[in-house]
């Protein structure tokens, strides 16, 4: 039989997961809007960002309320981790919005003739987000730890894309404007991967009570 | 709720209330009657002479019960000297020390002793001190018998009062590293002191009126007593002697003596009430 406090903790978990699915959807849609030059989709992403922001506020309020009941041990860790994760999810939402903005801008101009495998980078980043949230649900510390090194792959891809875009800009100065949009978009994806890594670190703290932020070799 | 039910209940209520009230009045009535008679018969005879003079020889009028009043006080003082230390220390033992079996036996004995008729006490002391001429009819024997009667009374009231002292005080004192005996004296007894004094005074009020045992220990005396090995007068004894005598003047003085005795007991009780009044209103 759950008591009211535990029901409060469950409600917090549920809200966090709902926020997560909104954030994931936003990233998916933003990337799609970018690749398919879909301005309507881009607009939807920007509108939905308010929803994600609102979730962060709600989750923080729920967490503060739970803190007044002085939770201890694993409950305490859950509440503080929930606040951190919601912050990361909100930033992911912001990054998705940035991608959507660039998608809208790019769609208004002719496409750049450069092959960038953005979908692959997006898939990697999204997979990191999904796996981080799964590890939260499963309370699986090992799975969370496994996500952290994958950030490097996304960073590498980002660097590679920037180099190619830089080259293209030098060779085709008339594409500079559009290439800059692409640079911003890929940077946003790289940041999304960073936030997924942060979420994984929080999950490790939740499960093991170990703070592994800033400790693993970059 | 139907009307007849209601009024039957009301009637029962009122009936019981009236009955209880009447019984309460009935309880107080004998006391009031006693007062009334004593005051009516005895008040006029109370004068300075009554308190200071010796009884006149048979047949003569006048005189007083000076020696009887002094005698009562002398006997009470001796009774206190015997009864208070033994009774209080006995009560301390029962409350603060002792295994449960021994305590039970002592308490049982004390309760029986409290119920022993006073004349039995009288006869025992008569045998021990009077018949054996150790020292015979004397103030000492009278004091001893009253003291013996006080012991179990004081012991039980002391024990009860000490038991009322919360254990927390004992624990707090012991936890300060204060030795057990000092804890008992300086903390427990000190806290219960009013109650112990009350118990002693009430015991004294009780034995002040004992007549039967004094008849064959103190014996009575028409003159001043000069030392404790001589017989001594006491109010109850003198009242008895005069009341069954043939002279009206003696009867008059017996009434006065009874009134004085009642006033003595009354003032002890009032004194106890005064002592135990609630001096501070404790904060909630």
């Amino acid at each position: 039989m759950e008591n009211h406090f535990e029901m409060g903790l469950d409600a917090l978990r549920q809200k966090l997961l709902t926020m997560a699915s909104h954030a994931e959807t936003a990233v998916n849609r933003a990337v799609q809007a970018l690749v398919q030059r879909d301005t309507d989709l881009a607009q939807r992403v920007r509108a939905d960002d308010d929803v994600i922001d609102h979730f962060e506020i709600e989750i923080d309020e729920m967490a503060i309320q739970l803190l007044t009941k002085a939770p201890l041990a694993s409950n305490l860790r859950l509440v503080t981790v929930a606040m951190k994760i919601s912050q990361n999810l909100e930033r992911i939402g912001d990054e998705a919005t940035k991608i959507a903005k660039r998608a809208r801008d790019l769609a208004q101009e002719p496409p750049v003739k450069i092959s960038l495998d953005l979908p692959r980078m997006a898939a990697l980043a999204l997979a990191m987000v999904k796996d981080a949230l799964d590890s939260f649900v499963q309370q699986d510390s090992a799975a969370a730890r496994a996500i952290i090194p994958r950030d490097k792959d996304v960073d590498a891809l980002n660097k590679e894309m920037h180099q190619r875009l830089a080259l293209h800009m030098m060779e085709n100065p008339d594409t500079i404007g559009r290439c800059l949009h692409w640079i911003v978009a890929t940077k946003s994806l790289e940041r999304i991967a960073d936030h997924a890594k942060n979420i994984a670190e929080e999950v490790v703290y939740l499960c093991e009570a170990q703070d592994i932020r800033h400790t693993l070799k970059k | 709720m139907t009307a007849p039910n209601h009024s039957w209940r009301n009637f029962k209520n009122a009936f019981m209330q009236t009955l209880a009230c009447v019984c309460a009045i009935l309880v107080v009535t004998p006391l009031l009657l006693v007062f009334y008679h004593l005051i009516r018969e005895g008040f006029s005879s109370i004068n300075l002479a009554f308190f200071t003079q010796l009884p006149k020889p048979e047949g003569e009028t006048g005189g007083g019960m000076g020696n009887a009043i002094v005698g009562t006080f002398v006997l009470l003082a001796q009774a206190a000297v015997i009864g208070v230390p033994v009774g209080v220390l006995g009560g301390v033992f029962l409350s603060e020390y002792g295994g449960t079996k021994l305590n039970w036996a002592i308490r049982f004995a004390a309760d029986i002793l409290n119920g022993v008729p006073s004349i039995n006490w009288g006869i025992v002391i008569y045998g021990l001190m009077v018949e054996s001429h150790l020292p015979g009819y004397s103030a000492l024997a009278g004091g001893v018998v009253l003291g013996m009667m006080m012991i179990p009374l004081v012991m039980r009231t002391t024990e009860e009062v000490l038991q009322l002292v919360p254990g927390g005080y004992r624990e707090a004192a012991l936890a300060l590293g204060i030795a057990k005996w000092k804890t008992i004296v300086q903390i427990v007894i000190r806290t219960a002191l009013k109650g112990i004094v009350t118990g002693v005074l009430l015991a004294m009020a009780r034995v002040a009126g004992e007549t039967a045992p004094l008849m064959f220990t103190a014996f009575g005396n028409q003159h001043w007593t000069h030392n404790l090995t001589e017989p001594i007068s006491a109010l109850p004894l003198q009242i008895f002697t005069y009341a069954i005598g043939p002279y009206n003047d003696q009867h008059r003085q017996a009434w006065a003596g009874a009134l004085v005795l009642l006033l003595l007991v009354l003032s002890i009780n009032i004194g106890v009430r005064f002592l135990t009044r609630d001096r501070f209103q404790q904060k909630a």
Binding site: A70, P71, A73 | G168, L174, L176, I178, R190
Partner: protein, 259 residues
């Protein structure tokens, strides 16, 4: 770390302590090191033996004729149960404050504070006055009562009375102070004052406090011991016990799943 048996900063070392009432074991084979000049809290559900354990430390369980103990307790390497040591001596070095405040009702504030000194032979007025002020200051009560030291002790409020009892215990200058749920009979404001007091006292005293209030243990203590059914289940720094306990039973108790 406090569980190191060779810890030289341990004020009390307990080894294999068991306390029996008749046949029933209230405390079972407990070994623990209490760090000097720190606050150690003892938590656990009702009936887990924490009060019995506390009272064994200053030999107060001996007041119960059925009580019997086994094991060893040392105060700074001196065996407090050795045949040559009297319980009176132990209690002068290890003081105790109780759940229900119990200032002696026939005595004034001053008399209460100095009772432990006076009844142990110290009569020098100067010393008594100094110790009174010192103890009342340490108990955070001096400013409130300094003008009425001769007022009856029972005229103080509940929280003040408890602080008076703390001052009374401190006046005999013990090395260790044991507190058995000292704030459980008080309102939240008075409780907060007591907790604050405990934290400031640890500079000079070793304190062991039994509490059923986990938040109080979390607020006021450096180390926490969790007792269950007479056994010591877990002992460690308070932060660890309340953020990441090692034993599942501790975790369950602390998160409110039982008890």
């Amino acid at each position: 770390m406090p569980t190191d048996p060779n810890n030289s900063a341990a004020a009390l070392t307990v080894r294999g302590l068991s306390v029996f009432f008749g046949d029933r074991a209230a405390v079972k084979n407990v070994s623990i090191d209490i760090t000097a000049k720190a606050v150690t809290a003892i938590i656990g559900p009702s009936g887990c033996g924490k009060s019995t354990f506390l009272r064994a430390i200053n030999r107060m369980h001996e007041l119960n004729p059925d009580a019997r103990m086994e094991g060893e307790i040392k105060l700074f390497d001196e065996d407090i149960y050795s045949r040559t040591v009297q319980s009176v001596t132990v209690r002068r070095r290890i003081g105790m404050v109780f759940q229900k405040s119990n200032p002696f009702p026939t005595m004034s504030i001053f008399e209460n504070v100095t009772v432990g000194l006076r009844l142990n032979g110290i009569r020098d007025r100067k010393i008594l006055a100094e110790r009174t002020e010192e103890s009342l200051r340490m108990a955070a009560l001096w400013d409130e009562v300094k003008d009425r030291l001769n007022a009856p002790a029972v005229s103080l409020s509940g929280g003040q009375q408890q602080r008076l009892c703390i001052a009374r215990a401190l006046a005999v200058q013990p090395e260790v102070l044991l507190m058995d749920e000292p704030a459980s009979a008080l309102d939240p404001l008075a409780t907060a004052k007591i907790e604050d007091l405990i934290v400031s006292l640890k500079k000079d005293y070793t304190i062991v406090i039994v509490t059923h209030n986990m938040q109080q243990a979390a607020r006021a203590s450096d180390f926490t011991a969790f007792f269950y059914l007479g056994e010591l289940v877990e002992f460690g720094p308070t932060t660890k016990i309340f953020t990441n306990p090692a034993q599942k039973r501790t975790e369950d108790y602390v998160t409110g799943r039982f008890g």
